[in-house]
Amino acid sequence: MPFILRRLVFYVVAAWAAITLNFFIPRAIPGNVVEAIMSKFPGTLQPSAQKAIEAMLGVGHAGSLLSQYGHYLVDVAHFNFGTSLANYPAKVSTLVGAAIPWTLTLVGSATVIAFLVGTGLGILAGWRHGGLLDRALPGLMFIQAIPYFFLALVLIEVLAVHLHWFPIAQGYNGEVLVPGWDWSFISDAIDHSLLPAFTIVITSMAGWMLQMRNVMITTVGEDYVLAAQAKGLPNRRVVFTYAARNALLPQLQGFGLAIGFVVSGALVMEIVFSYPGIGLLLLNSVSSNDYPVMQACFLLITFAVLVANLIIDLVLVFVDPRVRAREATS
């Protein structure tokens, strides 16, 4: 089976596992979940909301567990996640849809920037093993070990509250502006995203750098790098085309595996900055026991991570000849 097709099947299995988890977790709780949820909202939930909860859990459908499961899968396929409990009767898909663009631009771009800068610095540190940048590693380890949300708190305190360089929180100035495609809104949104993006970049960058540095050091010791130097090739060519080019492959594979972790961290960052993305929506739904929104957020984040992994696999096919060769022979 071709490499990409095999990976595609794997991601479908993973997505199915996530959906199935989502279906069975509420059922694993002893007692009647619908009534338990209803009792958590005394007075605020209309009896009609019971239908919404049942739809979300798939228990409203008559029949066996299997047919409930079938109906649930159909609902998910139609992005029908029911109605929010905390913001009744807003549709879950509307709430989630409003949060997606914020997260996608902030977390997406910050993760890519962190990966690129971290990998670049890792190349430098690995090539000049024992040099200035390499000696700064213990300091970087400390930054990497700080809980990201804690660093965010410190940065807000110093840079936003005391120095007034950045806005303190939110995605835009909601008192004055209405989201739209005009310049005043976009510039304000960019202004508000700078500090969160900066925080995500410096906390996740160190990890990429350490990993790239380690692979780079091992690669620089390979015979073909020595051969390239012996041929008298310019330094830039040896570093980038010979050493870094090959050290990049494990780094890319690591990117796929770590992206779920990085995105999780970035979501917590949204919470600290009250940034109106999926992370904040997930947190608010947890604290208000808004199960339909919780589940939709989880599925959405999972799907995003799976798609990111698929993209990385596609990139790997292009940059790693061994993957292509395997594909040609199988």
Partner: protein
């Protein structure tokens, strides 16, 4: 007897010598990490006995609400008059116990799954690795939030169980790969020929050779468990009546310690988490360096003709090395040579530079 000889030579573990000598040979990073971690373990054990107050005791006196550090309260008090130092001492213990328990159980699971997956092969291997890869690719924190969100008590046990369930696949994959590599070695074949039972081959021939990998995956799991449990508590998905580093941060944040300038409340738990994390990362780096000597910091770089000679540099050609520089010249030079983009013929970084010699040297300065 035939099995003994290859086993001795193939063993990845160094022959045991005096403990002092072994300690001295450890990489510096590992030593610093071990000492730092040991310090926190001691705090975790001794902490509850030396803590001056009960962590939950709320001093009713309004003067002791958000009191700055003084002799009676070395780290000040919280909004409700609780002693921060006592909370910190209890919290370090609780956070470490949870993380180490998760690390131990998850690592044991990954050894069992990894080794049996590699040894059984076939359908078992496919199924176990499929499960591992699926768990690995699902984003951990949202999954944790979903799983714990339905759990009404969200106690330590629930958090620990869920963290363990999500943490074994990474180690299992590494250990499986290592086991596959070791299984083909001669000493395993020899053990099999002598009629050793399968479980004995697995656990006394193969697993001991994976100690450094197992240690690394334990340290990684503990690191992740600390990060995840603190993050979960910080966003409120935990037993908020217990005193862990995460719940301390949760209360400090939710009662706006930051806006009130109560640094003694929010800073200590965060710094403690960061220090424990740094210790673990350093330890992991040390383990890596033990297994892969190339990674060791090139502390005593050779100097040739006033040049630092990096491991990546080709063998220098001595007569072509530029002449000795003064302090300022060296400083300027150190900047110019750290630029990788500079590969003009005059660059002294590569072999071409060494060969072109001092003639091109002048135009660069």
């Amino acid at each position: 007897m035939t099995a003994v000889l290859p086993l001795m030579t193939e063993s990845a573990l160094p022959v045991a010598d005096q403990p002092v000598g072994r300690w001295r040979r450890l990489p510096t990073k590992a030593k610093v990490g071990a000492v730092l971690l040991g310090l926190f373990v001691i705090i975790a054990i001794v902490g509850p006995f030396v803590s001056p107050y009960s962590p939950g005791y709320q001093n009713p006196s309004p003067a002791l609400s958000l009191h700055a550090p003084d002799a009676a309260h070395l780290l000040g008090t919280t909004q409700s008059g609780q002693d921060v130092l006592s909370q910190l001492l209890t919290g370090i213990g609780l956070t470490l116990v949870l993380a180490i328990a998760v690390g131990a159980v998850a690592t044991a699971l990954s050894v069992i799954v990894g080794v049996s997956s590699a040894y059984l092969g076939g359908v078992w291997d496919e199924v176990l690795m499929l499960i591992a890869n699926v768990v690995l690719v699902l984003p951990a924190l949202p999954l944790l939030i979903i799983l714990l969100g339905y759990e009404p008590r969200q106690g330590l046990l629930a958090t620990g169980v869920v963290l363990t369930a999500l943490n074994w696949p990474w180690g299992a994959r590494l250990i499986r790969a290592q086991t596959l590599a070791i299984t083909n070695r001669d000493f395993v074949a020899a053990a099999r020929e002598t009629g050793e039972r399968t479980w004995r081959i697995l656990f006394s021939e193969i697993v001991p050779n994976e100690i450094s990998l197992i240690a690394a995956s334990f340290v990684n799991t503990v690191l992740f468990a600390i990060g995840a449990s603190v993050a979960l508590a910080f966003i409120g998905v935990a037993d908020l009546n217990s005193y862990s580093l995460g719940t301390m941060l949760y209360w400090a944040q939710s009662q706006t310690a930051m806006n009130q300038g109560a640094w003694w409340w929010w800073a200590p738990p965060g710094i403690a988490v960061a220090l424990i994390g740094t210790a673990l990362v350093l330890l992991n780096f040390g383990i890596d360096e033990l297994g892969n000597p190339r990674l060791r910091a090139a502390g005593n770089l050779n100097r040739v003709g006033g040049h630092r000679l990096y491991p990546a540099d080709p063998t220098p050609v001595l007569h072509a090395m530029p002449k000795e520089r003064g302090p300022v010249g060296r400083l300027l030079h150190s900047f110019s040579r750290s630029s990788l983009l500079d590969d003009r013929p005059g660059s002294r970084d590569g072999l071409s530079g060494h060969l072109s010699g001092p003639a091109n040297d002048g135009e660069r300065q």
